[in-house]
């Protein structure tokens, strides 16, 4: 024990420890990096009853009407919701984007404010105002039924310029951004394509067919998990690779050079 204790004060101890720690964390992280949570498809929109619509209306009046207006026809600060459909509500409320917390360049995803039943009621109410896209069925968004290769081809033409090649997210102008897609549920992905929330353009079923949407979901489902090469460094491309080359590579090499050049005791 004594020998070990004395060794702790060795000048080299921090360097050796650091190296070991780096090796260990790097190795362990790469091996045990969390796999993407198995995305369970949301329940399909239940057939709405008049009770649901009434409950939804009450919720709307209490939580949404301030901005969207008492009849949901929009105001100066918020758009009209007539004809946006249940899918838009399920996406906006189901990801926590609505109700909006504060004015900003865009409404970010945040903890969801309502339970599933309330969301369904709100969706039913808004859907009753005018025809719009409905919430997709579980089968429509099942990644296992999609073709990821076709999904990748579509994704990189239609989505990658904003959301990054594998959906890690990216910047838009004026502080807006395209979010990371790895934690988004298949249903929400589908709804986002269908309704074009906020800055995102609309990809209706004529432009990207329902099957193609499912292919895209199948592709995204495979991203953000294990990277064949080890840590994925955020999948952000060459900038993060360069940063780590300097921090880890040049950092370790200079540490080793200093160790090699230091006079031995």
């Amino acid at each position: 024990m004594k020998a070990l204790a004395a060794r702790r004060h060795d000048r080299r101890a921090p360097v050796v420890l650091l190296l070991l720690a780096l090796l260990l964390t790097g190795g362990l992280y790469a091996v045990f990096a969390p796999a993407p949570a198995g995305a369970t498809p949301e329940q399909a929109a239940a057939t709405a009853t008049t009770d649901d619509i009434a409950a939804g209306k009450a919720l709307f009046q209490a939580n949404c009407a301030t901005c969207h207006g008492p009849t949901a026809s929009g105001t100066d600060v918020a758009p009209s919701l007539i004809g946006v459909g249940a899918a838009a509500v399920d996406f906006q409320v189901g990801t926590g984007r609505m109700p909006m917390q504060a004015n900003g360049p865009q409404a970010p995803a945040k903890p969801v404010q309502f339970n599933d039943e309330q969301i369904a009621q709100l969706a039913a109410y808004v859907a009753s105002l005018g025809t719009g896209p409905a919430i997709p069925s579980a089968e429509q968004v099942d990644p296992a039924l999609g073709d990821p290769a076709n999904g990748m081809a579509l994704f990189r033409t239609n989505c990658a310029m904003c959301h990054n090649a594998v959906g890690a997210g990216g910047a838009l102008s004026g502080g807006k951004f395209a979010p990371n897609l790895w934690e988004t549920t298949p249903t929400h992905l589908y709804e986002a394509m269908l309704t074009g929330p906020q800055s995102m353009p609309v990809f209706n079923d004529a432009i990207i067919t329902p099957d193609e949407k499912r292919d895209i979901i199948a592709f995204i489902d495979q991203q953000g998990g294990a990277a064949p090469g080890g840590l994925d460094l955020g999948s952000l491309g060459p900038v993060s690779e360069g940063l780590w080359a300097w921090v880890v590579g040049i950092g370790l090499l200079i540490a080793l050079a200093v160790w090699g050049g230091a006079k031995s005791s």
């Binding site: 790469a30 081809a153 579509l154 838009l172 432009i207 990277a227 006079k263």
Partner: protein, 339 residues
């Protein structure tokens, strides 16, 4: 360099103090533990041996992993193979490296030696000899007396590279017909099709707020599809006709649908980040921002010119077709763009 600015002090200490300090001479380092104590040296020896052993074990693990851990079909198995092989290789290399350096630091002599330097310049005698040698050589060649040889020889040498350069330059740029930059494969009646699927697009497909990435329907019949695609890609946007302030070429759109070249007028990246609410189109490479609602004019960033607009109309079956090629060259600026 004189130190005449410190005259006051120098005068006070005149005679007693030199102008500069003297070099105290090489300071040999203190002896190391291992130099004084054979036990410490033995310990260092064991450490070096242990580090070499790490390397040997690394090689064994590497060979084992090569056979036992194939990359397989899944990202997880590929990652495992890569990590084990990589960490084993790290042990192999860092084991040897740290062992050698540790050896050099602790067990090899740390006495410093002094070696004289000599000026880089060769001495006068050598220089004179060199000049003489050159002059003798020149005299023996007779070059100064035979001017015709000098001229002919130099000319021959100067012309020789032409035989390499001419075929190289001649062929390397294919046909050198740079006017191809000015045209794309859009013709009157070419249908607009979705990229990458190639399905033709109906005007009714596009709802307000939607966009489509577009290629000519007959792209794959082109001689070099990629070359053509690099010029012909188009972004189709439908907005509320009331939001459409102006078009690049008035009348080129159709009922709120406008088609702009996707190739940035800055240095040619595909401009494709369309923000539905602001109608801004952003280039992810250098952030040039174009206002699609206002003739695709530049509102931010390093581009100067608006994006070229493709004239479109609807054919009898309701499909969107081009009314002709772009009226200006697409993509980045080049010298003879306007000629």
């Amino acid at each position: 360099m004189s130190h005449d600015n410190s005259t006051e002090i120098v005068q006070r200490g005149a005679g007693e103090h030199p102008e500069r300090f003297d070099d105290p001479g090489v300071h040999q380092p203190n002896p190391r533990l291992g130099d004084l104590d054979e036990k410490a040296a033995k310990k260092a020896e064991r450490q070096v041996a242990a580090l070499f052993t790490v390397s040997i074990v690394g090689t064994i693990v590497f060979v084992w992993a090569y056979f036992a851990l194939p990359p397989g079909e899944k990202p997880e198995s590929m990652r495992l193979s890569n990590i084990v092989l990589g960490l084993a290789l790290t042990c192999i290399l860092l084991g040897i490296g740290t062992a050698i350096i540790h050896w050099a630091k602790t067990l090899m002599s740390n006495k410093e030696y002094v070696e004289e330097r000599h000026p880089q310049r060769s001495d006068d005698e050598t220089r004179a000899g060199a000049i003489q040698a050159l002059q003798d050589g020149a005299a023996d060649s007779g070059i100064s007396r035979r001017g015709a040889l000098k001229g002919a020889g130099l000319t021959a040498l100067a012309l020789f590279p032409l035989s390499i350069v001419l075929p190289l330059i001649g062929n390397v740029g294919e046909d050198w017909n740079v006017s191809k930059f000015k045209h794309t494969m859009w013709r009157k009646g070419t249908r607009l099709a979705y990229d990458p699927t190639g399905r033709p697009i109906k005007a009714s497909d596009l709802t307000i707020g939607s966009i489509a990435h577009v290629i000519p329907e007959d792209l794959h019949e082109a001689e070099s599809p990629l070359d053509e695609k690099a010029k012909a890609v188009v972004l189709l946007v439908r907005m509320d006709p009331r939001d459409l302030k102006s078009e690049r070429e008035p009348g080129f759109g159709f009922d709120g649908i406008v088609a702009y070249s996707k190739i940035c007028t800055h240095v040619g990246c595909p401009v494709a980040l369309y923000e539905q609410q602001t109608h801004h189109l952003l280039c992810p490479c250098h952030q040039s921002t174009f206002d699609v609602a206002d003739g695709a004019k530049v509102v931010f960033g390093p581009a100067k010119r608006p994006l070229p607009q493709l004239p479109i109309e609807v054919d009898a079956e309701g499909y969107l077709v081009a009314r002709g090629d772009f009226v200006e060259p697409v993509g980045p600026t080049f010298w003879e763009r306007l000629t």
